[in-house]
């Protein structure tokens, strides 16, 4: 190695020491999806500084470990993600490139929400002939507010573990959130009664938890296999299926291209319903409560 390179190495090491930040400020949370960002903000308040890696307009399967995300992971104290392999295409490389030991799997700073709920659609056999299946089960757990309650409890505890100096505050905020959420759940349960047993068609297999919550019956999926775009021929098949087993509506998420849903809506004479899917997906879904208020409003509106 030349002397100039040695000097550069020493300079880099010296800089890394100089930049080492003082230990106490707000806990920097990097949330993989908006719903977990919103939840961390509710549970952490002023104690946390929340950044969200993706928006409601992005498909959380298909995100890239872009430079801005790498530097945010570098400086974060904690990542809050869905897990269950939803972020498998980008999170491992993001964490590896971040050079941040706090975020590595197994550390308290690595929180995967799906670890704390009962997962649906866990495949008995995993084979890519089935499309982009998730071996750990369906990862779209945020479509059921009862899951939000479970994740909130676990996340509140985890925040207290990462930032023990403020444990009591996290505990208090988590209890307050749980109480508020409990009231929400009761209100939503009453509102959602007309949806029980309603047949729906879904764009992507993303609503298993919502269907479980509301008692919706999924009779058709527009994607021929998970992660494979709906084709014209498959849409014809779906239309034929709906003749035999009619659905009351077709559901798609804010980030998805609505063309296949509109086509089906027109040909099957059923409304196409855009679901916010996460916080920020629609104007009504400003926060977690709004996410489910708006989802229910849209579903109930389609019944009229």
């Amino acid at each position: 190695m030349t002397s100039s390179l040695k000097t550069a190495a020493l300079a880099a090491l010296a800089l890394s020491g100089a930049f080492a930040l003082p230990a106490h400020a707000a806990v920097k949370v990097l949330a993989c999806e908006p719903e977990w960002g919103a939840l961390a903000q509710e549970l952490g308040g002023d104690l946390v500084d929340v950044g969200v890696a993706t928006s409601a307009m992005q498909d959380p399967h298909q995100v890239q470990a872009k430079p801005s995300l790498i530097s945010r992971a570098r400086n974060a104290d904690m990542v809050v993600c869905t897990g269950a392999e939803l972020e498998i295409g980008w999170l491992p490389v993001l964490l590896q490139q971040s050079g941040n030991p706090k975020l590595q799997p197994g550390q308290p700073g690595n929180f995967a929400a799906a670890d704390f709920v009962r997962k649906l659609d866990v495949p008995k056999q995993v084979d890519r002939s089935q499309g982009d299946v998730h071996p750990d089960g369906n990862p779209h757990i945020q479509t059921d507010p009862r899951n939000i309650a479970l994740v909130a409890t676990a996340l509140g505890a985890r925040l207290a573990q990462v930032d023990p100096a403020h444990a009591a505050q996290y505990q208090q905020r988590t209890a307050a959130f749980s109480q508020k959420w409990q009231a929400n759940l009761q209100r939503w349960a009453a509102q959602a009664k007309p949806l029980k047993g309603v047949a729906i068609a879904a764009h992507h297999k993303a609503y298993a938890y919502m269907e479980d919550w509301l008692g919706l019956v999924e009779v058709a999926v527009l994607e021929p296999k998970p992660g494979v775009e709906p084709s014209a021929s498959h849409l014809e098949e779906v239309l034929a299926t709906l003749k035999a087993r009619p659905a009351r509506m077709v559901i798609y998420s804010a980030y998805q291209d609505s063309k296949p849903d509109e086509w089906l809506s027109e040909h099957a004479h059923i409304p196409a319903v855009k679901i916010p899917f996460t916080v920020g997906g629609t104007d009504g879904a400003k926060d977690l409560t709004g996410l489910f208020d708006d989802t229910l409003n849209r579903l109930l509106g389609a019944l009229k």
């Binding site: 390179l5 890394s16 080492a20 498909d59 498998i88 490389v93 050079g99 709920v117 995993v126 980030y255």
Partner: protein
């Protein structure tokens, strides 16, 4: 007689009544035993006693096992609870307060990202006694090409750029061929290290370790240290495996100045600055295993490199990365094939240093950052290579060489609808001006600028399979125009890979 039905019953789970067969076999066994004994009453009493003793013994053992199981379950539950919410006692109370909630599942210790169990037999993992649970993550790339070229690939040269014999240039071979298949294994080694190997299997049946390195996962302050064989972090394309390229082949500038893709055996230190702006610095030292190095026998490092990359976002639809890198490699008696001033093939030997500077940039656009339907990617690199040292031509006495060469490419790839992309790439090289010293009689600077233009269209039926058609007009060699028509498939099997930006 006895063994047969037993074995059949045990071995044939498909049989609808295996338990019945077992019972029959057992009954037969007992019956036979009874017949053989042909016992008086006392024997029967003894037998009864023995049976009673056996029963109580088994009861005791079962009891012990049950209580052990109970204890273990309790401990597990305790451990899980501790894992879920160690410092907050109220957590479980909160969970109970949520009526109607689906049963909470205590967290299973998340498997390390690089050690995902990909075994098909146990997709849900989490079973403790699974011997395959620690198997590395395995992924396999299968790829093949068909090439139709108007010039014989054996005649491929890059005018003005002397390269080692057997250097990978051009499309390789005509007709059908197995392109590079790649087998990758990766896993965490312990809490501080991860390991990775990429084996490349080429169409001519050679297997080579493309990359094989260990890397740290727990260094503080944004530091990552890597040791082993790895692709250098210089430029943009250099560190990417060929299956992630947007065109079938590497840019000519990479072929001419970096031996297609520069990999080395050595160490690499990366440091990510703790700033909001992405700034990554890298230092590398290696043996100089491949061109422009010579894989020579020396204690000192034959290669040293410094890399710098920065990047960020412009709004919510655009992201970018740009970089500047420097690499130097030593050579002593490096064999090179060249073409002399009168067009004749020349064998040369170079001793000295090569300094390579790479400037790279990439810009990606997708509406609201959602690349599922449409996106655009603009990418370009400029490479400049300075060679200083001595050059011996055809075994003559070496004479001084001072040469500066450069080249680069600019490419754009546009996904115009889901699954379908088109791409354009334009390339140009400058052999530059050289001072050949006393070798001026055989060599002279050329004014010829090699160029190449490529267009491609590809279709990805899924995230794991891509089919590509590429047409290129290659004017790398003066006086030759090679029209190349390439067809390629690329597939990924096994563990879901995560790709770098």
């Amino acid at each position: 007689m006895l063994a047969k039905p037993l074995a059949a019953g045990a071995r044939a789970p498909a049989s609808p009544f295996p338990p019945l067969r077992l019972v029959a076999a057992l009954a037969l066994a007992v019956g036979l035993q009874g017949a053989a004994l042909a016992s008086p009453a006392s024997d029967v009493a003894e037998l009864k006693k023995a049976l009673a003793a056996m029963k109580s013994d088994y009861d005791k053992r079962l009891g012990a096992l049950e209580s052990q199981l109970h204890d273990t379950q309790a401990e597990l539950a305790k451990a899980k609870a501790a894992n879920a919410a160690p410092p907050v006692a109220a957590a479980s109370a909160n969970a109970e307060a949520v009526a109607e909630a689906p049963a909470p599942v205590a967290p299973v210790a998340a498997p390390p990202a690089m050690a995902v169990d990909t075994s098909v037999a146990a997709p849900t993992g989490a079973s403790g006694g699974n011997a395959t649970a620690f198997n590395p993550q395995i992924s396999l790339i299968l790829s093949g090409t068909y090439a139709h070229t108007s010039q014989d690939p054996a005649q491929t040269r890059i005018t003005g750029f002397a390269l080692p014999p057997g250097a990978e240039i051009g499309v390789g071979s005509r007709g059908f061929s197995l392109a590079e298949s790649e087998l990758a294994l990766a896993a965490n080694i312990d809490p501080w290290l991860a390991g990775n190997i990429n084996l490349s299997i080429t169409g001519d049946d050679t297997i080579s370790a493309e990359e094989a390195f260990i890397t740290t996962t727990a260094l503080p302050h944004g530091l990552v240290l890597k040791a082993g064989r790895f692709f250098s972090g210089i430029g943009y394309l250099n560190s990417q495996h060929s299956h992630t390229w947007d065109f079938v082949d590497a840019p000519v500038a990479y072929q001419a100045m970096l031996g297609t893709q520069y990999a080395d055996d050595g160490v690499q230190l990366h440091w990510l600055a703790p700033t909001d702006q992405y700034m990554e610095f890298g230092l590398e030292a290696g043996r100089g295993r491949s061109f422009p190095g010579d894989n020579g026998s020396r204690n000192a490092a034959g290669m040293a490199a410094f890399t710098f990359h920065t990047g960020g976002d412009i709004g919510d639809s655009t992201s970018w990365r740009a970089g500047l890198s420097y690499l130097q490699a030593s050579a002593g008696g490096q064999a090179l094939d060249d073409i002399g001033s009168s067009g004749q093939a020349l064998g040369e030997q170079f001793s000295g240093r090569t300094h390579v500077v790479v400037a790279d940039g990439v810009l990606k656009w997708a509406p609201h950052g959602n690349a599922t339907h449409t996106y655009f990617k603009l990418q370009g690199e400029f490479i400049q290579s300075h060679r200083r040292g001595d050059l011996a031509v055809e075994g003559d006495a070496p004479a001084g060489l001072h040469q500066t060469q450069s080249g680069g490419y600019l490419q754009g790839v546009y996904q115009f609808m889901p699954m379908w992309r088109v791409g354009l790439r334009t390339e140009r090289l400058d052999p530059g001006h050289a001072n050949f010293g006393a070798n001026d009689f055989a060599l002279s600077s050329t004014n010829y600028h090699p160029t190449k233009n490529s267009i491609m269209v590809d279709f990805s039926e899924s995230e794991f399979a891509r089919f590509r058609l590429q047409f290129a007009q290659d004017r790398s060699r003066q006086g030759f125009v090679d029209n190349q028509f390439l067809l390629q498939y690329q597939t990924a099997l096994g563990a879901h890979g995560a790709h770098a930006y």
